[in-house]
């Protein structure tokens, strides 16, 4: 049973997050190991396994990047374990520039500049997520590969976003 089937929803990038969260709470109650305190060991084990699978499914589906990666894995594209490098020069050059900017901001402890870089990242992430969504709307191998390219780019953007958040926390604590 795949994660979408577990929640009884259609396989796709678009989903209702509020509904997903509500269904998660409901399903979690049903399979919660505490309910099986008096059950047999075998039933307990099954409950624990179901509960773990449900947690995995929820954490995968609730965030757009893991959701897109999971969708692509269902289409046979495994992005998590790939070791091929990306050589899109323009994209990488821009990544380099943003990382250099972040270094400068770190040295200058410039919170305003950090915030505007963060805003730019959010815009970029939205833009690429929209493209992932558009590509995933068509179910053919060519568009799956185009969606995968966008997901690869998003991994660089999310990494940078994490570093921005990390620095934000550091600067606000100082």
């Amino acid at each position: 049973m795949n994660y979408f089937e577990l929640f009884n929803i259609d396989v796709g990038f678009d989903l209702d997050l509020a509904q997903l969260s509500a269904d998660y709470q409901k399903l979690q109650k049903v399979s919660h190991p505490d309910r099986f305190a008096t059950a047999s060991d075998k039933q307990k084990l099954i409950a624990v396994q179901q509960s773990a699978q449900l947690n995995d499914a929820y954490s995968t589906l609730k965030s757009p990047l893991p959701r897109a990666e999971y969708l692509l894995s269902l289409k046979g594209i495994d992005l998590n374990h790939e070791k091929t490098t990306m050589q899109d020069n323009l994209f990488l050059m821009q990544q380099m520039e943003w990382r250099e900017q972040l270094e400068d901001i770190k040295h200058a402890q410039d919170i305003d500049a950090l915030e505007s870089l963060d805003e730019e990242m959010q815009t970029q992430i939205r833009l690429h997520l929209q493209r992932v969504k558009d590509w995933l709307a068509t179910d053919c191998s060519q568009s799956h590969h185009s969606a995968a390219d966008e997901v690869r780019k998003l991994k660089f953007l999310y990494k940078l976003r994490d570093e921005i958040a990390h620095l934000e926390e550091k600067l606000s604590n100082d």
Binding site: T85, M86, D88, N89, Q95, M96, R99, K155, F156, L160
Partner: protein
Amino acid sequence: MAYSDKVIDHYENPRNVGGFDKNDPSIATGMVGAPACGDVMKLQLKIDKNGVIEDAKFKTYGCGSAIASSSLVTEWVKGKTIEEAVTIKNTDIAEELALPPVKIHCSILAEDAIKAAVEDYKSRHQA
């Protein structure tokens, strides 16, 4: 996860960090990235008229293993011809630095950076 002494040495004292003017005709630039971890690597080679690498510089945003891998290859490629440089294999880098299996992609990144730089040089010197 523990880093090997060689990784720590290159990470703490990286060799040849920096860059050259990418518009200089003797400079070749290789840009590569690893989507799995979001690491970005820029390797620049200064190549003389005979195709010998005179100097190399790198800039890497990534983990210790990625920085060590790129630092190591800047040392290895110096004095080599571009034909020799592209024969450097990621397995050589991984072995030298004693990289664990989960960090093999860092050595692949460094190997591909050399190849990308040499490709860049060749594409700009087709007479």
